[in-house]
Subunit: 243 residues, 2 copies
DNA sequence: CCATAAAGGTCTGATCGTCCGTCCTCTGGC
DNA sequence: GCCAGAGGACGGACGATCAGACCTTTATGG
């Protein structure tokens, strides 16, 4: 009856009948490697495993892998070196260019919601599982972050490493994957907005408080610190994006 | 050097080069519908949309959809009725039979970790977003759950509806999907273990306390109640499964 | 009683992604 | 100068998927 023919079914049924979107192996590979590069998980200059080895790890044919590598090469993320001792390398200066955009209001909110779930879940698990050694590594990352509050791209890369590092200390690879994907989506979202040093400094202070809460085995503090931390970016997005 | 040739790379790199596992449209459809039926999201006797309509919603060809429907029919979950007024229906008594098993120790722990993330994240968001009307629906579900603590299959179905209902009131379809998948995996895990009425009663009391915490806008209580709730099943699994 | 509509059931041809294997080309080191 | 290790290129086979036309069943209404 409504002019917009609003979906009446409950969310759960909507999702059951939502489009089945199966990525091809090619697409998924481009996505996986591309995200890893953009996030800095594969640092500039890094050499990928040899094609014949990598295609086995990825469980795909070499020709399919090459399609993906070629695509990433054309986009300027990889360059191949032939001959013995060659290989495929992450380019030294990955393109900063605009990558994607066009997010609907519901999209970006859902992305933030999913991130909140993953980050809070990781924080809860980290409290009971983190070892002192692991925490010290993250301590250093926080120190490093303080040094680049004037250089956003560098800050963002270290920020990603910090959050992925949190996920790593849960020991759950599924959560690491989830965290990586969330960070990739967040990067797409926040790529174009301003990041004044004061904001980054404040954000990094929350990193430090988070680590303290984890050390103190204080689940409540960890959750609330993380929640605040995430709401920071969310408020900025709410002011800038549609919705 | 170790005899097991342990993976030395950090988790995040392992996951970047982990196998690309792209399900086919057929597989994903069987999975989607099969899970929805097993979880009770598509209740017994429910009629699915007509094939010509459903394949559009799912974004796949009708022939592919039919493969999936045929497979689910042969597994005893669906039956088709020809002629006008016919359709494809969820069977009245879906097979209880053993479905899957063979989970490695790392697998089931990671499944529980992911569930914890989703459930805790949902709980946090629910605190700020739940409306009284939505909460009352969940209240009734809790009452209904109390009535079937003697009948585990019925309890489990209502339990799933409760948890998916929590996800629904965040308004985020991504979280609904994540919750659904987690519940599906959990069902596979806990299908075969004992569920004495006392345990179910205790579990349902936690549901009630969770709703109270959400009503009171008490994030801390919601998180801790949810955490306890999940640890209940996790401890049982730890006693029964390898690892 | 027959026509029609609405549903599932069947078939076929084309396309596309992927795999596998083979061979070529380049390049540094022994 | 040979060889090993790397990327690069090609072609055939196969399977999944798609699009569409057509058939069969069945309830309903004129």
């Amino acid at each position: 009856m409504s002019p917009q023919s609003a979906p009446q079914a409950p969310l759960s049924l909507e999702t059951v009948f939502a489009p089945v979107r199966s990525q091809t192996a090619f697409e998924e590979t481009v996505d996986r490697l591309g995200t890893a590069i953009k996030l800095g998980l594969l640092p500039a200059g890094e050499r990928l495993p040899a094609e014949r080895e990598l295609c086995q790890k990825l469980g795909i044919a070499r020709s399919t892998l090459r399609q993906a590598l070629t695509a990433l090469g054309q986009s300027g993320y990889l360059h191949a070196v032939r001959g013995r001792g060659g290989g495929t390398f992450v380019v030294d200066e990955p393109p900063r260019g605009a990558d994607r955009s066009e997010l609907s209001p519901t999209d970006w909110r859902e992305i933030c919601d999913e991130r909140l779930a993953v980050e809070v879940g990781v924080a809860v698990l980290a409290v009971s599982r983190a070892t002192e050694a692991q925490l010290r590594v993250l301590d250093e990352l926080v120190v490093g972050l303080d040094d680049c509050i004037e250089d956003y791209p560098a800050y963002r890369q270290a920020d990603v490493r910090f959050h992925v590092g949190l996920a790593e200390l849960t020991g759950s690879s599924r959560l690491v994957v989830a965290m990586t994907q969330c960070q990739g989506r967040m990067s797409d979202l926040i790529h174009h907005i301003a990041h004044p040093p004061e904001v980054l400094a404040h954000s990094n202070a929350q990193h430090a408080r988070l680590l303290a809460a984890i050390r103190a085995n204080d689940v409540g503090a960890a959750v609330s610190t993380m929640t605040e931390h995430l709401q920071g970016t969310e408020h900025i997005l709410a002011g800038l994006l549609p919705g």
